[in-house]
Symmetry: C2
Subunit: 347 residues, 2 copies
């Protein structure tokens, strides 16, 4: 079998969510957009629901409809992209809660889904999603007359606790929502860590549930094991892989493993990344191919039948850092080809 | 609707394959591994089959089993990773042809699938997959007595026509297969372009079918359109997106579009990449988020409801180059979230 295995620890996902919940001042939702950050919305959302989560956030109405089919009638499902052209039927039929981002969306919601639940997203400086402060002045009274169930905003720099943007956005959010007696939400994982003044009535952790930075002391949720297809000895001066980019300077033993950039192992991670046999790290050699990677296993005193890419020694954050990106991107780039195993045992 | 659309032109895929076929001296296969380079094996393989392709290559036995279920009994399906532990049932039940890469695999094939079809992959210097020249000396006679249906190897530097590795591998392949009267294959897309002496009995184009470099004068196969969620005006000094990495130096009009790195738009493509409204390119501003991207649409004299990421003005190769990678990786990283439309009309 040449298919790599991705083992996802649902118990770790549950415990990470419980930890974020225990740190939050009031209610705690769960963000499961982008297929639960690449790990599988069906299994992950069910596990979080079993653990007590009743409020979920996704990116699009299509994701919301899928989530409703998975979890049934009870949970509240919020849609970050709000109410777009073409979303009306999905929002109505799947009982979704759009987070209204603009006057255009407000108009659409009030005309097409009058008396249906909705929330409001305000822009407090990130300039990405949300009604602008000046627009809010204009539509606040009308919006509030429609009884939104949530007012939220999103922090641009919560991963950097000392960034002045955090207090700027906090103060703006306070000003915009002052004296409004509706459930409020500002913090995702980074915002939870900034402290209780950022928590308001509801926190919305995402990445922390999945065991990545900026969350600290969380449990790893993923292990990736890749089968070895074959092993060969090479001499000094021989090259490995496309473009002859790597030349051996001594006798080496090289394993070819069965995964590549089609499995989300970015070409750019290159030789900064290791494959592990137990606690021994073996460096990648040569270019990463679509389905294959060369690994220098000279250090091993036996021939492994598989090697580990993600484990406790090489975390998602570490491999992402080696690729010049963040754990979020590594997670959402895992391909469709893994044999995915869901377990409640420690990975 | 906040879901981006990926339109795949099956007619272009067919024509690109026909072009590669017309350039090939003898038979022409089609490589459809990694979900047909991310574009959808079900639709792509069927289109190529309808066009006359009868030999297909995939990476793993699992991919081969899926392809057999799609295409039925007639085509030959070759497995690059060969015959691995655990593959025997799949190879037998789905009538797959493993490309034997090692003495270990040869032993497995001869013991467990005696008298079943197989091919041989030889390593001619890439040190990735294939039986080594010295090993081949040892097992050649035994292997040939088992009547393999194909002997193949793979070029490491075919994208660089002047690279001396090409002639080295060509000569090695000739030496290793001299006087062997079995169907031979050395060239993928790059090898086809190197000229007829590289073609032998069967070429195996992959990336050229999908309209990317190193293939020249091929048809584009993909268009990506992304909905605009909202549009806002910002002042000089305002920031957009995570980490406040982009600050406006003048009044700007910013669109937030509904796709991000979860859709395979690498974070690193950043501001080198544009979104197009007709022929007008609008640069990305700020960090790419998981589901959202900010775009400077100040140049437009109207508010678009969608923008194009991939089209004839910004090809797969161009966006990949901006991300420091190759078209292959962009294709195989397209996420699961697109609304995929298959058409026979020009994209």
């Amino acid at each position: 079998m040449a298919t790599a295995t991705a083992t996802i620890d649902l118990n770790a996902i549950k415990q990470n969510w419980q930890k974020l919940r225990s740190m939050s001042r009031n209610d705690t939702a769960a963000v499961v957009k982008a297929n639960a950050y690449g790990l599988g919305i069906k299994q992950v959302a069910k596990a979080l629901y079993d653990e007590g989560a009743r409020l979920f956030f996704v990116a699009t109405a299509e994701e919301g409809a899928e989530l409703r089919s998975i979890l049934g009638k009870i949970p509240e499902i919020y849609i970050f992209s709000g109410h777009m052209v073409g979303d009306t039927e999905l929002i109505r039929n799947y009982n979704l809660i759009p987070l209204i981002n603009s006057i255009e969306q407000l108009s659409r919601q009030s005309q097409l889904l009058k008396e249906k639940k909705f929330g409001v997203q305000l822009d407090t400086g990130m300039n990405r999603l949300g009604i602008e402060p000046m627009e809010w002045e204009t539509v606040k009274e009308f919006t509030l007359s429609l009884n939104p169930v949530l007012i939220m905003s999103h922090l641009a720099c919560a991963d950097e606790p000392g960034h002045k943007m955090n207090t700027t956005q906090l103060n703006t959010f306070r000003t915009l929502t002052d004296k409004i007696n509706i459930k409020k939400s500002l913090a995702a994982t980074g915002g939870i860590l900034l402290g209780p003044e950022y928590h308001f009535d509801l926190t919305r952790p995402g990445i922390g549930i999945y065991g990545c930075s900026p969350m600290k002391n969380c449990l790893p949720v993923l292990k990736i094991e890749i089968p070895v297809i074959q092993i060969r000895d090479i001499k000094s001066g021989e090259t490995v892989g496309y473009g002859n980019t790597w030349t051996s300077t001594s006798k080496k033993r090289i394993a070819t493993i069965s995964a590549g950039y089609a499995d989300g192992i970015f070409r750019v991670v290159g030789q900064r990344t290791k494959l592990y046999f137990k606690e021994i790290g073996c460096p990648i050699v040569g270019r990463i191919s679509m389905d294959l990677i060369g690994v220098d296993i000279t250090r091993l005193n036996m021939d492994p039948d598989k090697l580990e890419l993600i484990n406790s020694l090489q975390t998602i954050d570490k491999i992402a850092e080696g690729a010049g990106t963040i754990g979020y991107e590594f997670l959402t780039s895992l391909g469709h080809r893994y044999n995915r195993k869901y377990t409640s045992e420690t990975v």
